[in-house]
């Protein structure tokens, strides 16, 4: 194999490693974005449910299939109205 083959291989490896890392960051960003969307939907859905009926379903279902306790939403809502912060 000639010098140029090794040169091409080395630079191909550099690009491959960098692109793989960028791809992994993009995937994690997308996963986080979906999680944020699920939280936003839970907050919006939870607000409506509380106003309509207290005896309705005690848990709201998230996009990812996890149950959201009603008291957790209420706590987040209180925090959103100027109560204690989450951090």
């Amino acid at each position: 194999m000639g010098d140029l083959w090794y040169l091409a291989l080395a630079y191909a490896v550099i690009w491959a490693v960098l692109l793989a890392y960028l791809y992994s960051i993009a995937r994690r960003q997308e996963s986080l974005r979906q999680e944020m969307k699920a939280i936003e939907e839970a907050l919006e859905g939870g607000s409506g449910a509380e106003e309509e009926a207290d005896e309705a379903e005690p848990f709201l279902t998230l996009v990812q299939g996890e149950g959201v306790p009603r008291e957790g939403l209420a706590r987040a809502r209180r925090a959103g109205r100027g109560g204690r912060g989450s951090r």
Partner: protein
């Protein structure tokens, strides 16, 4: 109530994106110039030929890895001092990028070694200490994944990041402390190369440093958002996922 009223920021667009775009543009511009200098501007090396052109970005990646691990060291110290998780996020992001650049250093060095030394790998002090460095920070990342409790995870990671940095000066000094076949780049008289080769090397160093800064910004921003989502999940009473 709309999600925007919640006291934690759950948007992925926000401050920092302008700086990210500026850094990306600078990285691409300097990267293209550095590639031109490595392939066209720098002369062909008399003994090794074209394969020597691997060296510019091999050294650039090695320098960037050391810089990244220095930031892990500083982030670890700052976390232990302040217990602010933003320092831990910075250290984690930098460790991840450092591992990426160390991987590039080891891979390109191995590819260069085949035509230059006639073997893909040898247990030379420089190669061995660099492999140990890679293993230390891969362990750092694995350790983080193995501890659930955030405070404990951050404290252990800070300790590993600080102690692990001891290997960085050992890597640098390995070619002076032990007998080695690895080329010595900087001698007492300065760079042991033709001036155009030095210029190409400096351009590659700058390009790699800018790329590191860009990746650190993106990765730290991602980690900060992850912490915010974690806080939101806790406030809502979600299970940890």
């Amino acid at each position: 109530m709309r999600a925007a009223a919640v006291p934690f920021d759950v948007s992925l667009t926000g401050t920092g994106s302008r700086l990210q775009r500026a850094l990306l543009a600078a990285t691409l511009a300097v990267g293209l110039v550095a590639l031109y200098m490595a392939f066209v501007y720098a002369p062909k090396e008399a003994t090794m030929g074209d394969v020597q052109r691997i060296f510019y970005f091999h050294v650039g990646a090695a320098w960037t890895a050391c810089l990244a691990f220095f930031v892990v060291f500083l982030g670890g110290l700052a976390y232990l001092r302040t217990r602010d998780r933003r320092w831990d996020a910075l250290a984690l992001s930098s460790a991840e990028i450092g591992v990426v650049f160390t991987t590039i250093t080891l891979a390109t060095g191995s590819i260069w070694a085949k035509p230059a030394w006639g073997t893909w790998w040898t247990w030379d002090p420089r190669l061995t200490t660099t492999t140990v460095l890679w293993l230390i920070y891969v362990s750092y990342l694995i350790l983080r994944g193995a501890i659930d409790e955030p405070e404990r995870r951050a404290s252990f990671a800070a300790a590993v990041g600080i102690v692990g940095f001891v290997d960085v000066p050992i890597v640098f000094l390995s070619i002076r402390l032990w007998r080695t076949i690895h080329p010595v780049l900087v001698k007492s008289q300065g760079f042991d190369m033709e001036p155009p080769m030095v210029h190409a090397l400096l351009a590659a160093l700058l390009a790699c440093t800018l790329l590191y800064a860009y990746l650190l910004l993106v990765r730290t921003s991602l980690e900060r958002r992850r912490l915010e989502v974690e806080a939101a999940r806790q406030a809502l009473g979600f299970h940890q996922g």
